[in-house]
Symmetry: C2
Subunit: 169 residues, 2 copies
DNA sequence: CAAGATACGTCAGCCTTGTTGACACTCCAA
DNA sequence: TTGGAGTGTCAACAAGGCTGACGTATCTTG
């Protein structure tokens, strides 16, 4: 990163010029593309899209989560999510179990097949991220995470921080 | 994958557990949402979408850029881009001037009106980013940028690094 | 100059994934 | 037992990706 006097250069960042911010904006744009490229390729082969990936990811993360729960996390309408879930269930990747406490709820789980695909997807993405982390170094990763966290909506930040295993059931 | 003590811990990062990487992946997801939320609201009011924003952004960044150039950067098909550009030109936000050297080319420029919208959009986004930068601190910003850059496709990284004012080709 | 290559625009049609509207099932409380 | 709240589903539509096929200027080259 032998650019300019370095954003680190001692002053620089206190000003945060529009140009520096613009660079940051573009960095997010290009990086996000790189970040999704690998899983996108896999998804494409199986005629799935990013929406399916997101669903698989968050079900994997919190097995037994409900549809409503997923809606909150993903921030889409239930109709939109439903289409994706239906397909995943038809294809035998996801299973919906009627809630025992509250029979209105559907608790979502990955099947073996679902686990396999999710695994392939996340592995591709982790590889990419691992490579980026390695290239940038631990120090940088720390900062990366801090800025990302600060950029989230407060509500999402709670989702993100407090996760652990909120799945529930 | 038992939870490690703290991703924040100071060491830890040399291991890069799957769990840490998963967290990074989710952080990208949530942060990108936050990152696009503000401009999305503005765009919505005027019945534009993210596609229009991207076009405006990159025309602003390199005034006089050609259609083909934009295609490379955005990574979409010309039919798709054309739909967006046509609308922006109809609405008087973007102007296409026939190339002087090569009259086949169309050089794109923002009109006053286009500049105004682009400004509003990027200001909203810069505000967000500035806030995140401030919250995280200069050290973190440095790392943030390093990781993002490492995450891009090499090709995009060239776009990103070598910019300055690459305008024409 | 004729022929091919390039840059751009456009028509037609498809797909994914967002949206709203309407509705059905389940639970709970009055 | 009935109405409201929570949840899930179906139908229909829109934005914005995509491919394929052409048309039209405009270079460029044999």
């Amino acid at each position: 990163m032998a650019e300019r006097p370095g954003p680190q250069g001692g002053h620089g960042l206190l000003y945060l010029t529009d140009e520096q911010l613009r660079k940051g904006i573009e960095a997010m744009f290009f990086a996000y593309r790189g970040f999704t490229a690998a899983p996108d390729r896999i998804l494409d082969e199986q005629d799935y899209g990013r929406a399916h990936h997101r669903a698989l990811h968050f079900i994997q993360r919190s097995p037994g989560t409900t549809v409503g729960n997923l809606l909150d996390i993903l921030g889409v309408t239930k109709q939109s999510l439903n289409r994706v879930l239906r397909r995943l269930m038809e294809d035998g990747l996801v299973e919906a179990r009627v809630g025992r406490e509250d029979r209105r709820e559907r608790h979502l789980h990955l099947t073996e097949k679902g686990v396999a695909l999710e695994r392939a997807l996340s592995e591709a993405q982790r590889d990419r991220m691992r490579a980026a982390y390695r290239a940038a170094g631990p120090q940088a990763v720390q900062g990366f995470r801090q800025v990302l966290e600060a950029m989230m909506d407060p509500e999402m930040r709670r989702q993100f921080d407090g996760d652990a295993k909120a799945g529930g059931r």
